[in-house]
């Protein structure tokens, strides 16, 4: 398993996460993640067809594919995972989550396809909504934004229904 032996209790972890968010705000940047996917996509498309990115899609103009605070924040997220893996848990990683394997079997391809589809819907939904868990819910909610509550309500409603349907009849 690829997990820390002891997870921090939710109130300690939550308080620390809140303090990191405060630090981000007082140093001038709300936390957020999903715009970076757009920049990454813009970078990749730019490599193949600069004309397509520069000319036809006004959306990439609003968020030009360049490095900024949030891109570095997301790179930091990956680095934190590397630190966790090599300095804290010291293991080889994990092919598929244990709970998923217990419910659906050990077929890696099936899990990877499901995660690919999940990742697609996560980011498509985020871009449509204008943010994800970090930007809309955590940053938004911390500024008392009503948008955060609407988004959270919708995401938990469909998330709970989907999870219940996926695990229906499976004793987990």
């Amino acid at each position: 398993m690829n997990e820390p032996k002891k997870e921090w209790p939710w109130h300690i972890g939550g308080a620390l996460l809140g303090l990191v968010v405060v630090f981000a705000f007082i140093t001038g940047h709300p936390v957020g993640t999903s715009t970076t996917y757009e920049r990454a996509a813009g970078h990749i498309l730019e490599f193949f067809s600069p004309e397509y990115v520069a000319g036809t899609i006004h959306y990439f103009k609003a968020a030009p594919p360049v490095a900024d605070w949030q891109v570095m924040f997301v790179i930091g997220l990956v680095i934190s995972g590397l630190i966790a893996r090599y300095l804290v848990v010291r293991n080889k990683g994990e092919d598929i989550p244990g709970m998923w394997a217990a419910g659906f079997g050990k077929n890696k391809t099936k899990r990877y396809l499901q995660t690919f589809a999940g990742g697609f819907l996560l980011v498509f939904g985020s871009r449509l909504a204008g943010g994800c868990t970090s930007g809309l819910f955590i940053s938004g909610g911390s500024q008392l934004a009503i948008a955060a509550l609407v988004f959270a309500g919708a995401m938990f409603a469909s998330g709970i229904i989907t999870a219940k349907l996926l695990y229906r009849g499976r004793d987990i």
């Binding site: 939550g14 813009g42 949030q70 819907l121 939904g125 934004a145």
Partner: protein, 179 residues
């Protein structure tokens, strides 16, 4: 590196982003929020640890942002995009067991499924950008109620903050009892 210079964003700001990302991601890892199991148990209503963790983070951050008067940007309540986007996001949340940020932490942790989650996400960003001109009118712009906050609705940011703390704090206590 030339790319960074071309953007004109100071190296100090980029370093700040990196440091904040490492801290944010490490707390997510240590709290178990980058684990498929913990996300799915929350969505299956069996273990609310991650929900309590998220609400605690929002409560602490809301107090800090209020005290330092550091509100930066309030997303407008565009009802159609928030509900449609949230509903699509939720399905992806349950399928992947990650969100767009935690999947990046999981990627660093060496969880192989996270690689595919990130690839799906990048594809979605490209598809969304391509469809944006078509989606803008029916799904993004309608029912825009502006940059509402709990404070603006109640006429005072302090009262808004207190309401958020009471509601989230109360919910956390109730969830703790349910387990």
């Amino acid at each position: 590196m030339t790319e960074f210079i071309r953007t004109g964003i100071p190296a100090g700001i980029l370093a700040l982003g990196l440091v904040t990302g490492v801290a944010f991601g490490f707390v997510i890892f240590k709290s178990g929020a980058s684990r498929y199991e913990n996300i799915l148990k929350m969505l299956l209503l069996k273990d609310f640890t991650i929900l309590k963790f998220m609400m605690t983070a929002v409560m602490v951050a809301s107090v800090g942002i209020f005290l330092f008067d550091s509100v930066i940007y309030i997303a407008p309540v565009q009802l159609v995009r928030l509900v449609a986007g949230g509903l699509i996001f939720g399905v992806g949340f349950a399928l992947a067991g990650y969100c767009p940020g935690t999947v990046m932490v999981a990627l660093g942790e060496g969880k192989r499924d996270a690689v595919y989650g990130v690839m799906g996400g990048i594809l979605a960003a490209a598809v969304f950008a391509h469809l944006y001109p078509v989606l803008e009118k029916p799904l993004i712009n309608p029912l825009n109620y502006g940059a509402l906050t709990i404070g603006s609705l109640l006429g005072s940011n302090l009262i808004g903050l207190i309401v958020l703390l009471v509601v989230f704090g109360g919910a956390t206590v109730v969830l703790q009892k349910i387990k």
